[in-house]
Chain length 200, copies 2
Amino acid sequence: MSNTMTAPAKVKRTPVALNGVNTPTLLATINAVGAQPELAKFQFRAKSRWVSGTHSQSTMYGFFGAGGEHEHILPYKADGDHPAVLCGGDAGPTPVEWVLHALASCLTAGIANIAAARGIKLNKVESVVHGDIDLRGILGLSKEVRNGYQKVAITFSIDGDATPEQLEQIVQQSKARSAVYDIITNGIPVEIAVQANGRA
Amino acid sequence: MSNTMTAPAKVKRTPVALNGVNTPTLLATINAVGAQPELAKFQFRAKSRWVSGTHSQSTMYGFFGAGGEHEHILPYKADGDHPAVLCGGDAGPTPVEWVLHALASCLTAGIANIAAARGIKLNKVESVVHGDIDLRGILGLSKEVRNGYQKVAITFSIDGDATPEQLEQIVQQSKARSAVYDIITNGIPVEIAVQANGRA
């Protein structure tokens, strides 16, 4: 592709709403957080309850951020279960499929925001995510096999009013600023506490 | 607590269905995979499509494992979006909240399976997950701040017909064999490919 054309990303422009993104508000928000870094501290939360067998349900409702408490429009609920072939009830996606959804939704949101900030109209963004796992890890059949995915691969199909290079760069920038990509590629510290109410 | 009582986990017993877990089938499955390790190779998948703004929707339906292709009972769909305070449409949980759900659902499924295998009846398993994140990372405002969570903390409240120590050990064993706990604490390799369909 020719690089002689002026890249839209480098044109000085007044930000306008694009791709369903309120670009002026988004950029104003980033500036506000830049001026007052304590606004950047967020805490997201989920509550989960066991239903039966390997089936549980989480609720994601309240969270802290931008200096105060917030609530989603609705208390969003989601199920998790093991599939029938793994002796589960298949009442919802498996926990490891939820990781794939988290990754795709994070990268896709970033693509839309970044494209809007660069003044590039998107027509389509689709992705397919594959996660390869050897269950000898979680089944306790091998000490050499890890519990989690060996590898995850995500392929984006993106269509927009820009050159293929510019569209590819948007995906790369989304990766560079993705919270979920960072979490699942670099790992994060997780603390587990237990309040046990037994019979003794 | 006294450790002089016989721990149910150590009693030789015929496995029976418990906690909604078909324990005999679960143990037979583990034995079958142990005898034929290629059955342990699974691939989970999600397809995602951008809707508008930061809103996307994933579908989790087909997967490979135990030597063949499988489908969930339904093509499970899930939304992801950024909340209003981050200029999103709040059409679903945020991608980082989905990570919390994945973790809670994985550990909870493991708790139910392990308790059943140990002959321990559970009455209640609930958890609360908190993830702390400094958005200066994803907003590109600081190179010192990571994109993902600084820390995740999950607290289980578990009630069952066993000693508190036995219940605590079940949670610890679930952690030791959790796919999602491994993924988000140790990290996994993620490949991103792009098929860009632009105007040039």
